[in-house]
């Protein structure tokens, strides 16, 4: 199974994960600082900044893009409950 490395910049910890995992599945277990509200891509609470590897996350859906817009997301912000890890990346709470 393809693997990828995700680094949580706020706690400086890296996890080797199977490609396709959502960020939420990892960040909660490791105790990273990204926080969650609805966990289903609606509230925008889990907005994160992708510091490196922007192209190594799954494309945002139309709904995620709308929530990002509503929450005044900056470039390279994503929802951690939606984004799937496809390759190496580094993230931190937005």
């Amino acid at each position: 199974m393809p693997k990828a490395k995700i680094t949580f910049d706020d706690i400086s910890q890296t996890v080797n994960v199977p490609a396709g995992c959502r960020v939420i599945e990892i960040s909660e277990k490791i105790g990273a600082g990204i926080i969650y509200g609805c966990r289903e891509g609606d509230c925008g609470t889990c907005m994160m900044e992708v510091v490196e590897g922007w192209n190594n996350l799954s494309e945002p859906s139309v709904l995620e893009e709308k929530v990002l817009r509503d929450n005044m997301a900056k470039r390279h912000n994503r929802l951690a409950c939606q984004a799937q890890i496809l390759g190496d990346c580094k993230v931190k709470p937005a």
Binding site: Q13, V15, G31
Partner: protein, 437 residues
């Protein structure tokens, strides 16, 4: 016209006798809100021993009128009657909602129907809530609105409204509106309280000090860091009147309420201790002493880490209020609970369900406990802490019944790892997904 020349004192007495008219609060500004003296509970969480008010205001410039906030839907008739006593709907150029909570936006849809030419001004964060509040039907005329941020202004000719973006006080979309020429701050729920007195002004009403502090403790306290940010915008303003959306209008020494907010938002515990160390608090309940022994060893292990100050508390010997104060100031919390009938014990849940009034975001959490059969409590507490937006950096520790010496050593190690995470000692680790558990 006499609408602007009413005698405030006379009008205040009139209101106390049930007069339906608007109350002048300064030249060109009227209170057009509603009194709700029968309310005894607000928003489920607040007791309101003598009710509340829903304050809305009308500002008149020489080129039009602005309405600032409306009232709860049930009180719309009072609001419209008072509005009509001082203005025609056709004169309204601007409607400002300082936040969209239903007790202030209840009469908004009808006001927009009656004043279709008026433009609605809301904060930049309010857009997503507007549709949810107005619930427009497809057949409705699309409503027009403009989002505004700090420094944006709306001119009414001789009077100017300037906006201050003050998010999370107490809704994400909260803003304050400042009437520049008259130094009136329409502060929304900030500086408000649930206190109903028809005399309306802080120099005329009864003693509302308790209500003011109680309101702050339940509504603003969870957002202290945002209060401090908002105060940076508010404190430099000349202030003759602070006009909140609930409770008395603050016209006598308004600045002391601003100062009081500054005091309430400053951490009293930290100032008294003056301690630079990071604080870890270990709370526990224990039936036969096993979870207590775990707690002592975890605390001892954590104490070995320089820069971490550990406190140990048996929940059986304390009350929720002071514990909530301690938790607000702590950097990390560990909760120990035995598992009884598949659950953590009630005192633990009592404390964990009393934390909505403090900000826990980013604090570290950990759970541990001794159990007899199944040991569900630890995972449940961890889930609750994550739900409270805490980080849980070390997987919980569960031990079956009486801890052995080896298991107590494991507890000390658990304390060390928690303290290490607190001071950032876990940084740089590479972990495999399979080891996350």
């Amino acid at each position: 016209m006499s609408r602007l020349a009413n005698d405030p004192a006379q009008s205040a007495r009139g209101l106390a006798q049930g007069s339906p008219g608007a109350i002048p609060i300064t030249a060109g500004v009227h209170w057009i809100g509603a009194l709700d003296p029968q309310l005894r509970t607000f928003d489920i969480i607040l007791r309101t021993a003598n009710g509340t008010t829903y304050n809305s205001y009308l500002v008149r410039g020489d080129q039009g009128v602005a309405v600032i906030d409306t009232v709860k839907l049930e009180f719309a008739d009072d609001f419209f009657r008072r509005l009509e006593s001082v203005a025609d709907y056709a004169e309204i150029r601007a409607i400002v909602l300082n936040h969209l909570e239903p007790d202030h936006s209840g009469a908004l849809p009808e006001l927009m129907r009656r004043a279709p030419q008026a433009r609605l001004y809301i904060s930049t964060r309010a857009t997503s809530m507007l549709k949810a509040v107005l619930k427009p039907k497809e057949s409705d005329r699309p409503f027009e609105y403009q989002t505004v941020g700090t420094g944006d202004e709306v001119s009414l000719g001789s009077r100017t409204l300037r906006f201050l973006h003050t998010p999370f006080l107490h809704w994400p979309d909260t803003q304050c509106t400042y009437l520049v020429e008259d130094a009136v701050l329409f502060s929304g729920d900030v500086f408000g309280c649930h206190y109903c007195d028809a005399r309306l002004f802080n120099d005329l009403v009864g003693d509302f000090r308790f209500s003011f502090d109680y309101y702050y403790a339940h509504i603003m306290r969870p957002f202290k860091e945002h209060v401090v940010e908002a105060l940076k915008l508010i404190e430099p303003l000349p202030l003759k009147i602070v006009a909140p959306t609930h409770g008395p209008i603050l016209r006598e020494r308004p600045r002391r309420y601003v100062t009081h907010y500054r005091e309430l938002s400053t951490s009293s515990l930290t100032e008294r201790i003056g301690n630079e160390a990071l604080s870890l608090i270990v709370f526990y309940m224990s039936a036969y002493g096993s979870t207590a022994r775990m707690a002592e060893c975890i605390a001892a292990g954590a104490e070995e880490t320089p820069g971490v100050r550990v406190s140990l508390y048996d929940l059986e010997g304390g009350e929720t209020g002071p514990f909530v104060d301690l938790i607000e100031e702590a950097d990390a919390l560990a909760f120990g609970s035995p598992t009884i009938n598949g659950d953590a014990v009630k005192p633990v849940w009592d404390l964990l369900s009393s934390l909505a009034v403090v900000n826990l975001k980013g604090k570290l959490g950990a759970a541990f406990g001794s159990y007899g059969w199944s040991g569900e409590a630890v995972r449940m507490i961890e889930d609750r802490m994550r739900g409270l937006k805490m980080r849980v950096p070390v997987a919980g520790l569960r031990l079956k019944l009486i801890p052995t010496d080896e298991e107590l050593a494991e507890c000390r190690d658990f304390g060390r790892r928690l303290a290490s995470a607190l001071v950032g000692g876990e940084q740089g680790r590479v972990i495999d997904f399979a080891d996350l558990g």
